[in-house]
């Protein structure tokens, strides 16, 4: 796929809009849906990984230091991680802040 989906014209579409290459959903930036974003106080984090287990988007992974953090390209800002995080590491803030 030479062009990204958002650059494609109607003539670039495959027959019947068939997707011929795997992994095309990876290009879709669901992060644009977000109105709130998670912020972290890693001092409190015990690296239990519950946030990653509960994340419906599956976009939470471990960073270099081993702390769990959402990939904001995909994070829709649902806040489930903040709700489930019992050591209260995660706080949701408005995107405008």
């Amino acid at each position: 796929m030479a062009k990204s989906e958002s650059e494609m014209t109607w003539k670039d579409l495959e027959i019947g809009n068939i997707v011929t290459e795997p992994g095309s959903a990876r290009q879709y930036e669901s992060g644009t849906w977000r109105s709130q974003r998670p912020t972290y106080d890693f001092n409190k984090c015990i690296k239990c990984g519950l946030c990653a287990l509960y994340c419906p988007e599956g976009c939470i992974g471990q960073n270099k230091e081993g702390y769990f953090e959402a990939n904001l390209f995909y994070c829709k800002g649902c806040g489930i991680c903040a709700r489930e995080c019992w050591p209260r590491v995660i706080k949701m803030i408005e995107e405008v802040e």
């Binding site: 494609m8 579409l13 027959i15 019947g16 809009n17 068939i18 997707v19 095309s24």
Partner: protein, 391 residues
């Protein structure tokens, strides 16, 4: 050798499907379509047709199975009518944008309520905007021929679209007509193998029926529109080559004494033949009248229609369906739209006839012509006329 045989039209349509060597039939019986799929089930069961017959539990499943089948590159057929078409509606919409060449015969019948098993075009109009190619036939021969032609059009690499062949319930499906059954070797020559370009294949996986976000959805719809519009050239070519091979000619708009006629009747479907008899009688009485028959409902043949009616002063359009609270019958609305911006155009009078199996006779057509000419001259307080309604 082609042979002329007295045969029920539904059986002839099923025989046409057999001659096309269909791979999969998924269907659910419904009056007045039942004889078509019943005969196909019989042909499969007794070994005359090597195909998968899927006796599904509903029309929604029938069309769903057909999509899956067509996606593997199998030659696929189904048939339905009225409530069955309404039930499969959701899936009917999916076939065209996914470019799956399912072929479907629709035995046109009224929609409930009140319940009517008899013929009209309400079911056809309920799927107008599904993106299917839609051919409307007038007699048994046309229904049989166009069933064969539909496979050739739909599976053409330049088209890859589903095709509906409409035939009026009972008026066509249940009558025995003299029909020329083509020879198998001629059908084999006319209809190439189905070569669906990207079939479902575990060795080369693809994703079909994906979702489209706002940044690409408009493009998919325009691609669909261009695809359907461009199919017309292939339809014309398929009809032309059918004529060369079998000696029967089909056109998107067929004319009957219409060149130079000042008054025209327009029909779609089996009503056309009765109307032709009325035209003959009126011409014998000295009236300058002709007929145009709409054969191709989608893609709509704008140029051919404009050309066919350009000399007329009055165009009386017959509809066998209603658009409640709307401007006219569905065919008349289309015709008015096609003509509105033309410098020279006939007055269009819209008549609703033959709902739920009511007959419109030769004398009724003559009456409609008389009244239609009057309305064209003096106007009417109605947006459209409802013929024969008891006041």
């Amino acid at each position: 050798m082609a042979t002329r045989t007295g045969i029920e039209v539904s059986i002839a349509v099923a025989d046409a499907v057999k001659m096309c060597n269909v791979d999969v039939v998924a269907a659910y019986p419904i009056t007045p379509q039942t004889h078509i799929v019943e005969h196909l089930a019989e042909l499969v069961a007794n070994g005359e047709l090597d195909a998968e017959y899927i006796p599904v539990e509903s029309e929604h499943s029938a069309m769903s199975a057909c999509l899956g089948s067509a996606a593997t590159g199998a030659r696929t057929f189904t048939a339905t009518s009225s409530q069955g078409l309404a039930l499969m509606n959701e899936v009917v919409y999916v076939a065209a944008p996914m470019r799956l060449p399912v072929i479907m015969a629709v035995a046109n019948r009224a929609l409930s309520a009140p319940l009517s098993i008899w013929g009209d075009h309400s079911d056809m109009m309920s799927v107008r905007d599904t993106g299917w190619i839609q051919i409307v036939t007038e007699n048994g021969q046309q229904a049989m021929d166009n069933t064969i032609i539909a496979f050739r059009i739909g599976e053409d690499q330049r088209v890859l679209l589903p095709v509906m062949v409409h035939l009026d319930g009972f008026n066509l499906t249940h009558v025995i007509e003299p029909i020329v059954l083509p020879a198998q070797e001629d059908v084999d020559k006319y209809l190439p193998k189905n070569r669906f370009p990207l079939p479902l294949n575990p060795d080369k996986p693809v994703a079909m029926g994906e979702f489209a976000p706002p940044f690409i959805f408009t493009e998919t719809k325009w691609a669909q529109e261009m695809n359907l519009r461009n199919s017309k050239q292939v339809i014309l070519q398929a009809w032309d080559e059918f004529n060369k091979a079998f000696g029967r000619k089909y056109l998107p708009v067929e004319k009957y004494h219409s060149d130079g006629a000042k008054v025209l009747i327009m029909t779609m479907g089996s009503a056309g033949e009765t109307a032709s008899v009325a035209i003959d009688e009126l011409r014998e009485e000295g009236m300058n009248i002709g007929q145009v028959r709409l054969r191709l409902w989608r893609p709509f043949p704008f140029e051919e229609l404009r050309e066919a009616v350009k000399d007329a002063d009055v165009l009386i359009v017959m509809d066998r369906a209603m658009s409640f609270g709307g401007p006219a019958g569905p065919v008349a609305s289309e015709v008015k739209s096609a003509l509105y911006n033309q410098a020279k155009k006939p007055k269009v009078v819209s008549y609703i006839i033959s709902l739920g199996g009511r007959d419109t006779t030769v004398s009724s057509y003559k009456d409609i012509v008389k009244k239609g000419i009057e309305i064209a001259a003096k106007g009417s307080r109605n947006e459209y006329e409802m013929y024969g309604v008891k006041e």
